[in-house]
Chain length 392, copies 2
Amino acid sequence: MTISTPSWDKNRFKLKDTQVSMKAVVTLANGGYEMLSYQDVAIPTPNDDEVLVQVLAAGVNNTEINTRLGWYSSKVTEGTEALGSNDAEQENAASESDGGWNEETPFPFVQGTDCCGRIVSVGANIDANRINERVLIRCSIRNEGWNSPENIWMASDFDGAFAQFVKIAASEVFAVESDWTDAELGTIPCAYGTAENMIHRADVSAGDTVLVAGASGGVGSAVVQLAKRRGAIVTAIVGANKVEEAAILGADRIVTRGTDLVEALGEKSMDVVIDNVAGETFGQMTQVLKRGGRYASSGAIAGPIVSLDMRNLYLKDLTLIGCTGWDEPIFPNLISYIERGEIKPLLAKTFPLQDIAQAQQEFTEKKHVGKFVLIPPALTDEQKTLFELSDD
Amino acid sequence: MTISTPSWDKNRFKLKDTQVSMKAVVTLANGGYEMLSYQDVAIPTPNDDEVLVQVLAAGVNNTEINTRLGWYSSKVTEGTEALGSNDAEQENAASESDGGWNEETPFPFVQGTDCCGRIVSVGANIDANRINERVLIRCSIRNEGWNSPENIWMASDFDGAFAQFVKIAASEVFAVESDWTDAELGTIPCAYGTAENMIHRADVSAGDTVLVAGASGGVGSAVVQLAKRRGAIVTAIVGANKVEEAAILGADRIVTRGTDLVEALGEKSMDVVIDNVAGETFGQMTQVLKRGGRYASSGAIAGPIVSLDMRNLYLKDLTLIGCTGWDEPIFPNLISYIERGEIKPLLAKTFPLQDIAQAQQEFTEKKHVGKFVLIPPALTDEQKTLFELSDD
């Protein structure tokens, strides 16, 4: 089944008379926190192949901030943090048609890439027994099948989880049996899916030496866990103020950001580098790779334009692997890791959904380790009645 | 069998009394053409697993010039051509321990990576019936087996083919049945092996759109042929003065160097880029790649330090593949392509071995299309007697 990108009906949030509403954060346009509007909007109606999910917990990610800021535009050369405080470049990015994750972002829309929820209603083609399943949503969707690299994303190509309800193709909704809390499950999809995808493509295996940049972040801390799960020997790079917290990640070795990696680790010491940071340290990361080494990236938080010495690339038979769309095994694997107790959540803090600006502000300050999660308000009696939900 | 790097006995070229000698070009040290010494040296003695090959034709490649100049040093930031005319940077490179292909180059030694020859004697463990086979030598050797990326090279890790004779592990010597001339066969190993290795790793398949940079060069012209052989649709980049000559390469489309690739070809128009040029055009080459595209490199003739926009890499799920050591199928494949008439040689010109400096000078001017080949002098009666060779 091909999942097509839905049309962006600009009136879709408008309430009809007597309609039961939901709370949602609508992102109005490129810009600062003032673009995050907490408001009453229409509850979406699933089509025949979709389900409606009540959002129980929604993680906070870089990608939502990047999209709001317009960071994906090629006109932007700074890292996310710098862009957030650079009005001129932000304004420039906001007017670019390539500033969104996937081409232009058609505002207004609901962001929110991570979702732990429960199914409250199903489309005509979907088994009604799925109602009440506690689920995680696969936010990266291979919309032309697994043999095509084309992909669409929840919260970029259709409305996401910063709301009380989200509708989505049933094929992307995975039941999960676990004693984790909703908030803990809400830390998983985007960060762990992105991490597992890099680890999968870089073919991390038992005994591999793996260097993880930005290891205290959402994706980085997931990489450390998932690489350790495969039996790799992990070196984690974290900020100097995170060394203690980073010990709990399970890394075999921790180096602080700013350390000369070639001096500290040695040339040709690493089989794999998993990097969501890039920036000035990129060159050192290719230097420490062994001959035949693999480098995987899903981000560039410290700056997207890097200097590459081609002699490092070709004389050492390196492979640099860009990772966005997830491969087929990634999400089912993650669900099984949770259910078998092979990974642990790393929940830094929860915020009420309406405090999203504060959550993103603290997120950008990067003083935390692990994930921030937004919790939508509990259902109203009216909403419960609409979906015939019990109180539990 | 592990093929170890032989020790570099500094006295190995010295003639003993009454010993039959051979002509060879000995590269004395990093530096200019004056370092290429055409002289009488000792004929090497194969060990038990080796054969001795009479060199019939030896191609000219960038790698020999790069190694002599010390271009592989990370201290060098210019392309080969600029380095050749920049005394200061050349001098700088010459004093660097990483200026050689594989770490430091232990001068003096015999360069020459390409060899068409015939077997004139065999070591104790090798079938004597192989004597007189016309052969091509696999110059890229996986010395710790095919599962390890470690590799050594003829003419970098042991003496090569710029001589009348070369000794080499019998496993790297492939008989070839063909009506091509020796000089034509001498165009194949390094350039076509390097080209086929990139095409193999980039998984070029029928119908793929493939962009080839430096398509009039030795490796580039081989890439065009080998990609066409697989049924790809090939766009070749050549200098403005090479457009007519380039038509014979068989490319489906030719664009001249300096053309804005994004304007001429369009963003996301190419499945694969095969690039031995790098330099300033690198960014455009990543821009024209489709989502899921592959970029393979074995060189950086226009300058090794490039600017990479990580967003191109990761948002498009690109893979950048550095290629040096050849994979197992590469050389047997090439031999079969020659024997089945699936490729044609592109011999630009032959030179006597002693005119190597002139050949390299013309090579560096890049006015030719295809390969230059050096022809060692015919055997002396004394040499023929030594190996009991007939006159034919």
